[in-house]
Amino acid sequence: MKTKKALLTTLLSVGLLASGASQAAGWCESGKEVKFAELNWESAMLLTDVLKVVLDKGYGCKVDSLPGNSITMENALSSNDIQIFAEEWVGRSEVWNKAAAAGKVVGVGAPIVGAIEGWYVPRYVIEGDAKRKLAAKAPDLKSIGDLAKYQALFKDAEEPGKGRFYNCPAGWTCELENSEMLKSYGLEDKYTNFRPGTGPALDAAILSSYKRGEPILAYYWSPTPLMGEVDMVRLEEKAGVNKTIDIKVGLSKAFHEQAPELVAVLEKVNLPIDLLNQNLARMTKDRIESPKLAKIFLKEHPEVWHQWVSADAAKKVDASL
């Protein structure tokens, strides 16, 4: 009897320890929470909220999200403190690269296809704008190579002899790439490599210049609400350079191993880019909060997300809307 009891406790404790590994119960059925990274840029906010509704209503998961900047969130993902990082721009952050190499995080699916990054200038700099009475100050500016002629146009007030190139915020991987590009295009002595400290600072700089009709040269990426709001032209790069970005859903290793039924859903998740841009614009223009917009989106476009989920889950989500 005693030995039986001892055996039972051992079995139970082993079972508890290994309960993570038991596949039969599934992540959500065993009552574990799915924690999302509460990311702070719009497309990721919408994607996160859409996924939250789908997992919550469709698969009966307890969902939660933790706020933080992307680096802390990627770090939390690698230690399984959170499970899903809805919009991971693969290769853009050292933390992710290291964690992925070590197998602590896994990127799956392609939630957004068609993202692109590059060096942008407002369209009125090249073509002028009759409505706003802005002259075309750089009609021949087409590619990054042409920038050498226009350093006076993008003058840096802090170093008047040079132009200013607004790089990526300090510490992002794109910052290093852009710094390399400044060198390889021979623009290093003509432009200051200006690093805004944070994303919002870069946004504010671009928006402010745009509203005043002043020239600005900045790194940026799309899809973003800012790109929906301002009309910017992407400067051409050397032939053969591909600047499209691979976006995946970031998962912690534990979640990837133990929740295959949910991973299967996440692998199929995709928001068509035009639809996404439309909705991002609604977010900034009509000021609809992301959780609300997510529900509206799910209601308006069942054809998009019905493809991701099982018929049963689709019914449940539909019923909840």
């Binding site: 007030a157 690093r195 600072a201």
Partner: protein
């Protein structure tokens, strides 16, 4: 739940107001910004051009003049040397320039406001809540509109620093003058001193320890804003801290963080020594 019928939002109104300010008056603000920038760029250029040993000698000289102690002077110079030794000298100078300009502006605004508020209870009752706002409002809330008006870089950084760092100086100047003994003031009045003589002959000298404590606090708070400043594109030690944080490079962040601490200690020791009455320092 708070009843929905009572809720309202000023967000749209504020957004519209900032928008129109940027669109209509953006260029005017840029001109103000350029003037301020000229001063900072020149000061920074001067500090960065000066050879390191000269800077150390100057700081050593000031430290000796303030403290009159060999050990303190050597320690101060040694600590600064250490910052240079880990390769952060140039960034240290950039931070120092930013901080000096911010402190000078804080002093120019803070001391007169403090004096006025000591004289008028009405002004004080308006000023104090304002100072509370300045010290507690999360800086990014006002930084983004400031960014849009003044451009990215050093100027908004200085604005943010002044907003955050000037309040203690205003408070302590006010306090120092109010604490001047009433009987002393009566005696001065009996001698027929006018307001200026009262202020410069008696009140300010007696309030000096308190004012110096205020300047000390201002510089300390200015230094604590260095990282925030780097978030809006100001160069210097804060940039290294920021990169350290954003790439999880703890070591690099710590190095730059310690350099900020050292700069703070050096300035703290020097300003505190000046705040102490002379005879005490020579003891």
């Amino acid at each position: 739940m708070f009843p929905e019928s009572f809720t309202f939002s000023i967000a749209n109104w504020v957004n519209g107001w900032v928008d129109s300010l940027v669109t209509n008056y953006g260029d005017v603000f840029r001109q103000i910004s350029d003037t301020l920038l000229w001063a900072i760029v020149n000061l920074e250029g001067l500090l960065r051009m000066a050879p390191w040993w000269l800077m150390l000698a100057i700081v050593g000289g000031i430290a000796w003049h303030a403290t009159r102690k060999v050990t303190s002077t050597v320690a101060i110079v040694g600590l600064l040397f250490l910052v240079g030794a880990v390769g952060l000298w140039d960034k240290l100078m950039q931070t120092l320039a930013l901080m000096m300009v911010a402190t000078i502006i804080s002093v120019l605004i803070g001391i007169p406001l403090g004096i006025l508020s000591a004289r008028s209870n009405r002004l004080r009752s308006i000023l104090m809540p304002l100072l509370d706002i300045m010290q507690t409002m999360p800086s990014f809330v006002y930084l983004i509109p400031v960014l849009m008006l003044f451009g990215l870089g050093k100027v908004p950084a200085i604005f943010a620093t002044v907003i955050y760092a000037a309040p203690p100086l205003i408070r302590l100047t006010d306090l120092g003058i109010r604490q001047v003994d009433g009987e002393v003031m009566e005696a001065i009045n009996a001698f027929g001193a006018n307001r200026w003589q009262q202020l410069f002959g008696v009140q300010l000298p007696l309030a000096l320890p308190s004012i110096m404590a205020g300047i000390n606090q201002t510089t300390m708070m200015a230094l604590s804003m260095v990282v925030i400043a780097s978030m809006i594109g100001a160069r210097g030690l804060g940039e290294d801290v920021l990169i350290g944080i954003q790439t999880l490079n703890v070591g690099r962040g710590l190095e730059a963080g310690l350099a900020i601490v050292i700069l703070a200690v050096v300035i703290d020791r020097i300003t505190q020594a000046y705040g102490r009455p002379r005879h005490e320092a020579s003891k």
